[in-house]
């Protein structure tokens, strides 16, 4: 039976934290821990979720949890997993929660190492598309056109000029045991992927889009709307990789307008019609590839 709000573990494990109101990342962590339960041993690097939850004596994880070095989420997770196993403990789930910068930039080497070793860990990247904890700086998962504090929008350059790094396919290219994309706008999909991953032996990677009202320039109650719309307009997608195969979980019958999605966020305020056309074309190109290479369920 698949997980829903009704069947999900009622216990809360991530509570009393100081994340901004309407924080998407905190929802991803909360839901994943409800799926994994009290045997989850969590490792979080420096970043939003550790900054808001580990301020002694205010400690907001009800399960075992620790902060790792920024670059060392995956390797510390490996150590946790190996250390428990070496003591004969096997009924636990080693889970990492790192942001986009902690995953795609500074932590990618350690993550690649863990996947290469096929360590029995679950790594969840909550992607809010910039270094939000330090005040909205560009990461390699910041999308084209987004204004951040290090990619300001001026007369010469209109925000970030580079597209998002494709972490999902990068992890898949390692031949990882399981990888998936998700969005907190589709929690049923996300929690079932977390549950599925928890039952697979080897390295699991889930990349979940988690909007940030503070960094995206959106209202605190719109977080879920944007997490849905980014999928509906085709700029993000819900997919899985396992057994050497890519699977598309959800195909909108018709994409909603990219422009509508972009124009509502102040980080994209400076985009010209031409810029938006670039976004539209790159989306269509990506979907051509998806249609060709992914199995559509």
């Amino acid at each position: 039976m698949s997980l829903t709000g009704k069947t999900l573990n009622e216990e809360e494990f991530f509570y009393g934290h100081k994340a901004c109101a309407g924080c998407g990342g905190s929802l991803a962590v909360r839901i994943a821990l409800k799926v994994l339960g009290e045997r989850a041993v969590a490792v979080l690097p420096a970043g939003c979720m550790s900054a808001v939850a580990f301020n002694f004596p205010q400690l907001c994880f009800g399960n075992n949890a620790m902060i790792s070095t920024f670059a060392g989420t995956a390797s510390m997770l490996t150590g946790v997993e190996a250390g428990l196993r070496a003591q004969g403990i096997n009924d636990f789930q080693a889970v990492g929660f790192a942001g986009d910068g902690g995953t795609a930039d500074i932590g990618i080497q350690a993550l690649s190492g863990a996947i290469d070793r096929n360590d029995n860990i679950l790594y969840i990247c909550y992607d809010n598309e910039a270094y939000m904890n330090t005040g909205i700086q560009k990461s390699s998962l910041t999308p084209f056109g987004a204004k951040t504090t290090t990619t300001p929008a001026g007369e010469n350059i209109r925000g970030n000029l580079r597209p998002k790094k494709n972490m999902f396919e990068i992890t898949a290219a390692h031949g990882i045991a399981y990888a998936a994309t998700a969005s907190i706008g589709f929690l049923n999909d996300f929690m079932n992927k977390v549950e599925k991953a928890s039952k697979i032996k080897g390295t699991k990677y889930i990349h979940v889009i988690a909007p940030c009202p503070t960094g995206w320039g959106t209202a605190t109650d719109e977080t879920i709307d944007f997490a849905k719309e980014i999928v509906d307009c085709g700029l993000w997608y819900l997919a899985e990789y396992e057994n050497d195969e890519f699977i598309l979980n959800y195909k909108p019958t018709e994409f909603t307008d990219v422009e509508t999605y972009l124009r509502k966020q102040s980080r994209f305020a400076q985009l010209t019609d031409e810029d938006i056309q670039v976004v539209r074309e790159s989306r269509d190109k990506k979907w051509e590839r998806i249609q060709k290479n992914y199995k559509v369920k």
């Binding site: 009393g16 400690l59 009800g62 879920i224």
Partner: protein, 96 residues
């Protein structure tokens, strides 16, 4: 285990742990002061669909007798619950 508020705030040298290790889920402050609007649940309209509970980033909405209840100590007033409710059972009211 759900983190919960404690009476004791470790402050003296002997109360402070020797390592950076402490009991999980040890809360000493609330988040209520962050809020300038608060969600109010109309239990007559609530059908217990649990979408507000599911999508709350702070986990402050819990199931109660086929409906939901809200922990105002930790609600930040983001308004997501109101948005998720298809039954118009949640209203945002200005904090006094």
């Amino acid at each position: 285990m759900k983190p919960y508020l404690r009476d004791k705030v470790p402050t003296t040298l002997s109360e402070i742990p020797d390592h950076t290790a402490y009991e999980a889920g040890y809360l000493v402050t609330k988040n209520a002061g962050w809020r300038n609007i608060r969600p109010v649940i109309n239990l007559e309209k609530c059908v217990g669909c649990l979408q507000c509970y599911l999508y709350c980033p702070d986990g402050v909405i819990s199931k109660e007798e086929n409906k939901v209840r809200l922990d105002y100590d930790f609600c930040k007033g983001c308004g997501i619950c109101k948005k998720m409710c298809h039954f118009d059972a949640i209203q945002m009211e200005v904090e006094k």
